[in-house]
């Protein structure tokens, strides 16, 4: 009886697992299929499950002049730049908000949260005007700079929660050992929260990587990022679904590589509180 019960439970668990897999992985698989199937079979009814796969769409977006290959590079420049500009500001800010007695600390955190919740569209016009006025329009830096309005608040919240987990006694021990606050931050606290810094960087990268709104108004033809390129296929002459799918699949690859490489840090980062020295 009980054994039967167990196997029923196992079956149920697997069924639920498959359902979730279908929900999360299904669309990705469908998009990959869309990228490698002949364009004209994209929306046939009933769906055509067998087809002759080809890499024409990838060849087009990567090799044909004026398409997505340079945009992939642009996206990398903007996303990596956004991470590099983000960390020197968000990590010390998170440290200060976690450790120092600051007037209005709560308000600052709420303000950051507000920035995160506000729709980016609301900032588009002001930023466009601002960036144009200071003559940065079309530059990589303009996008990297404006993306900080999204990545810094998020990173500060995330980093603060990691730093909060570090026992204060460690810093007190370092103070008694004769260390000043900056030495404590650099040599004690930050090395301990390294998994947290890596996780924060990954999220900042993905935020910047996925963002389409800011590059849409701030980039030029030569600095456009991959999401802008993908949007470009929604042309008046018709939607080329296989190109869109190929560009989308391409856009998924860098974040995937990053998550695979830093996988162990994600796990360590997310279970940080339980591994105190």
């Amino acid at each position: 009886m009980s054994r039967r019960h167990t196997s029923f439970n196992t079956a149920l668990t697997y069924a639920a697992g498959l359902l979730f897999l279908a929900i999360f992985v299904g669309p990705i698989l469908w998009f990959i299929a869309l990228a490698i199937r002949p364009a004209e079979t994209a929306f046939t009814m009933p769906p055509q499950l067998t087809f002759e796969p080809n890499l024409d769409a990838f060849r087009h977006i990567l090799v044909d002049p004026g398409t997505n290959a340079p945009q992939l590079v642009n996206s990398l420049i903007v996303a990596i730049g956004a991470v590099l500009l983000n960390l020197p500001f968000s990590v010390p800010a998170a440290y200060a908000l976690s450790r120092f007695k600051l007037r209005g600390k709560k308000n600052i955190m709420l303000w950051y949260l507000g920035l995160l919740m506000a729709p980016p569209v609301a900032f588009l016009i002001p930023y466009f005007i601002l960036i144009t006025r200071i003559g940065l329009q079309g530059s990589y830096f303009s996008m990297i700079l404006v993306l900080q309005t999204l990545t810094i608040p998020f990173s500060v919240w995330l980093m603060k929660s990691f730093i909060d987990e570090v026992p204060v006694e460690l810093e007190e021990a370092a103070r008694v050992d004769g260390a000043r606050w900056y030495t404590i931050m650099l040599r004690i606290t930050l090395p301990i929260v390294r998994p947290g810094i890596i996780v924060t960087s990954m999220f900042a990268f993905v935020f910047a990587w996925n963002n389409a709104a800011f590059p849409l108004v701030l980039s030029s033809r030569s600095t456009a990022t991959l999401p802008i390129g993908t949007l470009g296929y929604f042309a008046t002459s018709g939607v080329t679904w296989n190109y869109i799918a190929a560009a989308a699949v391409l856009a998924m690859i860098p974040p995937m590589i990053i998550f695979l490489v830093f996988d162990r840090y994600v796990v360590r980062g997310l279970t940080f509180g339980s591994v105190k020295g």
Binding site: P167, L170, E172, A173, R175, V176, D177, G178, A179, G277
Partner: protein, 388 residues
Amino acid sequence: MASMTFDGIGKTFPDGTVAVANVSFSVADGEFVVLVGPSGCGKSTLLRMAAGLETLNSGRLLMDDADVTETEPQDRDIAMVFQNYALYPHMSVYDNMAFGLQQRKMPKDKIDKLVRDAAEMLDLTRYLERKPGALSGGQRQRVAMGRAIVRHPMAFLMDEPLSNLDAKLRVQMRGELKLLNQRLGVTTLYVTHDQVEAMTMGDRVAVLKPVFNGQESNLQQIDTPQMLYDKPTNLFVAGFIGSPAMNFVRVELTAEAGSLKAAVTGTKISFSIPAKATLSAYAGRQVIVGIRPEMFQVCPESEALFNEQVPVAEALGADTFVFFDIASPPVNINDAEDTEDFPNKGKNRLVARIPPALTPRPNQLLPLTVDLEKLHWFDPVTGTAIRD
């Protein structure tokens, strides 16, 4: 090495809680002073003040007569051992011990020598390259000690450093710590809630109790362990020091020719003692008598002061502790003022230490007498000891 003086120290937290009030005492150069008391008595706060990790609202803190009240912990040249050790988890044992020296910009070869000497002394040489996570509790404790001694500071501050160890290791480390202190001769302030630890380790012991307003003082008595045991200044110290704790019994005093008669409140038990100057002033009033468990003696029934059934006996091998009840109101030592009107009901459970051979059978009557010369006497209102 240095002396340390707490001069009228007080600390009130922003929410109005009084943590420390009116604490004044000195620690002599090279002395080992233990701060002991129940939780909330301010002992850890005092230690953190000495470290500079906690600010104070009133009073001064002196080290070698220099006022360090406002000095940052970085500049005090003290070393602290934390309850959970607070070892840097990402550094090796070597780097944990070297960190403080590096902050003082000491040359590398000198740091190396100091770290290796300290490791040698604490039997840690084999573990120098390990991270704290790969050490046992006892080893981590030694690393925490090593981090303190390697700096040759003016004073050691220790915040319940043995409380995370198992009982056997704690007893062993207790001895080692004491030896280490004698060998290094460094002024040490040591916090514990364990009175056995306090008694065995301290040159002097400061007994603290929680305060509720700024008029009282946390510090009840600071003295050698033996003096605390033999001459406690009040009910709190008398009840806190000693295991099992001192028994307290309410008695009514009446003056007789050349002697004082003490009748145990609520019972027919009474005894006479020679009149003493200070105690005679309490004639006609209630006082509290303190009896250490070892002051009881098993005696023939005719000489017995107490002859009660013994429901519980704890045989420890060398001694047996017997517990018995008398129909007298119990004494609450924590707030002596409130107890005088304590409803005259309930039972007062006493404990006596007797030789194992005399252990009674359950619920057997056990005739006991008391060495009347050694009794402790306390004022029931103030709780202070009455002594000639």
